[in-house]
């Protein structure tokens, strides 16, 4: 049987029912990677030999009757290349870490292996997760499988593209301002950012520590729920991690959404002065709203005027934290060091200037600026206040609504080369996704149709903190009555 159209859950069931073995499944996937990588370039590293060895080990465990409580046992998974793996280089798609082999594994990597999943590769991304197109990767861009002249989105573009084209069954990305959800939307797959603290960040190379979470990118919400059950949980090694409940998210999935109250912020559907929402994107969101009404939910327009401050607040806070987090890259203990004899201060500056790309440098500069004397109050402190106000607005909305529905991105995937020429335009396109990071709340993107250009469109569901299981269940319910998530890019073009 071919695994190439299978969800992770279906694949694991097939393996555990002895319809095929874990090594067979992995071998087919590795062939698909070889077939597509020349065009798509989703991967930065694979290790077929050790992955096959791991698949044999997992199969032997399954044959001994173990891993019966692991619904994803035997399933191959790839990780965004900012998640530390001890056996594969972890580069953050940067010259600064081009040869870095981590001395430890991320907690999520250990958990995946513990549940019998097979880590088989590292995925391309924007450098240090800073970007929305995967074009800032120092190893070259990833192509969108639906149209290779378009970007896959970013910064988890490699992950979204690989799942979309079928060269990954599922993947983990990271999301600081939309970096799981936006590429998932642009590539027609499902992506989920958990409530802040739900998934340990131990081993996630930091960009903005108060905003980011690791999360799944997969074929559907059910796979995302099953992956969340593997990776979530309080971790003593991440002091910001929190417990997330005993009941499996996957067990809580139900097709019933009767009585669910969904709000659509009018500011999200109108341009509101920040740039237009493409009409086809708006149309698909409206169609999703109608679908939810047919399913018995109550859908209404609501107001969220403080949405307009989200992008500015996000880019001030995120870049301030990035400037701090990336100060560690000085060429001394690890990472790129400039060659030649020079004073220490010049060594730091030269190593960093040679190691970092343009977008990373811009964000470090912006971050240090907003934190510097004379500007801290006008920018950073104001941004923290805006973050608090936005969170308070959302708290008020949760008194009336269970979920908010809004676009994931204002357009379909842009052409290569267009976004980087207009930084502010690129930042502004994050206006729907940064809300969830600022407030620390969960958010799910679901494929909900296609644009006039044939490119996928995603819609976002946001919910209150700790409503992760419910959002995933609502996404599952939507995917029981629609089929957008089953369309395959490889049917369209490769």
């Amino acid at each position: 049987m071919s695994i190439l159209h299978m969800s992770a859950l279906a694949l694991s069931s097939a393996i555990r029912a002895r319809k095929l073995s874990a090594p067979e499944a992995l071998r087919e996937l590795l062939r698909e990677i070889s077939r597509t990588e020349g065009t798509i370039h989703a991967y930065l590293a694979t290790d077929p030999a050790s992955a096959l060895q791991e698949a044999e080990r997992v199969q032997a465990a399954i044959d001994r009757g173990e891993l019966t409580q692991s619904p994803l046992a035997g399933v191959p998974i790839a990780l965004k290349d900012n998640i530390c793996t001890g056996h594969l280089k972890t580069t953050c798609a940067s010259r600064m870490l081009a040869d870095f082999l981590p001395p430890y594994c991320a907690t999520v990597a250990e958990k995946l292996v513990g549940q019998g999943m097979i880590l088989h590769g590292k995925l391309n991304m924007d450098e240090f997760a800073m970007g929305s197109t995967t074009e800032t990767s120092c190893f070259g861009a990833t192509a969108n499988p639906w149209n290779i002249d378009r970007v896959p989105g970013g910064s988890s573009g490699g992950a979204a593209a690989a799942v979309a084209v079928g060269s990954a069954v599922c993947a983990l990305g990271s999301d600081t301002g939309g970096s799981i959800r936006q590429p998932a939307s642009h590539c027609g797959v499902t992506g989920f950012k958990p409530t802040y603290g739900t998934v340990s960040r131990y081993g996630l190379i930091a960009y903005a520590s108060s905003l980011e979470q690791i999360g799944p990118i997969a074929r559907d919400a059910a796979d995302c729920a099953a992956l969340m059950d593997v990776i979530r949980g309080r971790d003593a090694r991440d002091s910001t991690s929190i417990p997330s409940g005993e009941r499996a998210y996957h067990a809580a999935l139900t097709p019933d959404v009767h009585g669910l109250r969904i709000g659509i912020p009018i500011e999200a559907m109108e341009g509101n002065g920040e740039g237009d929402l493409a009409p086809d994107v708006g149309a698909r969101i409206s169609e999703m709203a109608l679908q939810f009404e047919k399913m018995g939910a109550v859908v209404e327009k609501c107001n969220f005027p403080l949405m307009r401050h989200a992008v500015s607040a996000y880019y001030i806070i995120a870049t301030a934290e990035a400037a701090s987090n990336l100060a560690r890259y000085d060429g001394i203990k690890y990472g790129h060091r400039a060659k030649g004899e020079m004073p220490l201060s010049e060594l730091y500056a030269r190593s960093r200037s040679e190691g970092f790309g343009q977008e990373v440098k811009r964000r470090i500069m912006l971050g240090n600026f907003v934190l510097s004397a004379g500007y801290y109050d006008a920018y950073y402190r104001r941004a923290l206040e805006a973050k608090r106000s936005i969170t308070a607005s959302l708290d008020a909305l949760w008194k009336t609504y269970d979920l908010l529905l809004l676009p994931t991105a204002p357009t379909t995937a842009p052409r290569m080369g267009v976004s980087l020429a207009d930084a502010m335009g690129m930042y502004s396109a994050d206006r729907y996704t940064v809300l969830a990071n600022l407030a620390g709340i969960p958010a799910l993107t679901l494929p909900c149709g296609f644009g006039a250009d044939g490119m996928p469109i995603g819609a976002q569901l946001l919910g209150p903190a700790h409503s992760d299981a419910r959002i995933l269940s609502v996404g599952y319910a939507y995917q029981q009555v629609t089929d957008y998530h089953t369309w395959r890019a490889r049917e369209v073009s490769v």
Binding site: P103, A323, R352, S353, F369, S372, R381, S389, Y427, S428
Partner: protein, 101 residues
């Protein structure tokens, strides 16, 4: 408030980055545009009685007792593993440029 070349040079020093003339010019244009857009935050007037905003308002205000581990020594990462990624090392130490005459 419009930033100029001096601010860019100052922040580049804070950032430990070297920018050549053309990079500095591009950075100035870019930062000006971004900071101009961020002026929208000036619309917000925080309530004078609101407590100072914090980075994480959602984290627990005090660490639960159950999350504080026992005060025992745990193994550290092996020196060899930590030096494996060092640009210049001698098996025992990192080697850095001389900074004291």
């Amino acid at each position: 408030m419009k930033i100029g070349h001096e601010e860019v040079a100052h922040v580049a020093r804070l950032s430990q980055l070297m920018l050549n003339e053309s990079e500095a010019e591009q950075m100035l244009t870019s930062l000006r545009e971004i900071l101009e857009n961020m002026q929208i935050l000036a619309e917000l007037t925080p309530s004078p009685n609101a407590p100072a905003a914090e980075v994480s308002d959602t984290a627990p205000s005090a660490t639960p007792a159950a999350w504080i581990r026992e005060d025992v020594v745990l193994p550290s990462t092996a020196r060899s593993a930590l030096l494996a990624n060092a640009p210049v090392a001698n098996g025992e130490s990192l080697i850095v440029p001389k900074s004291v005459e």
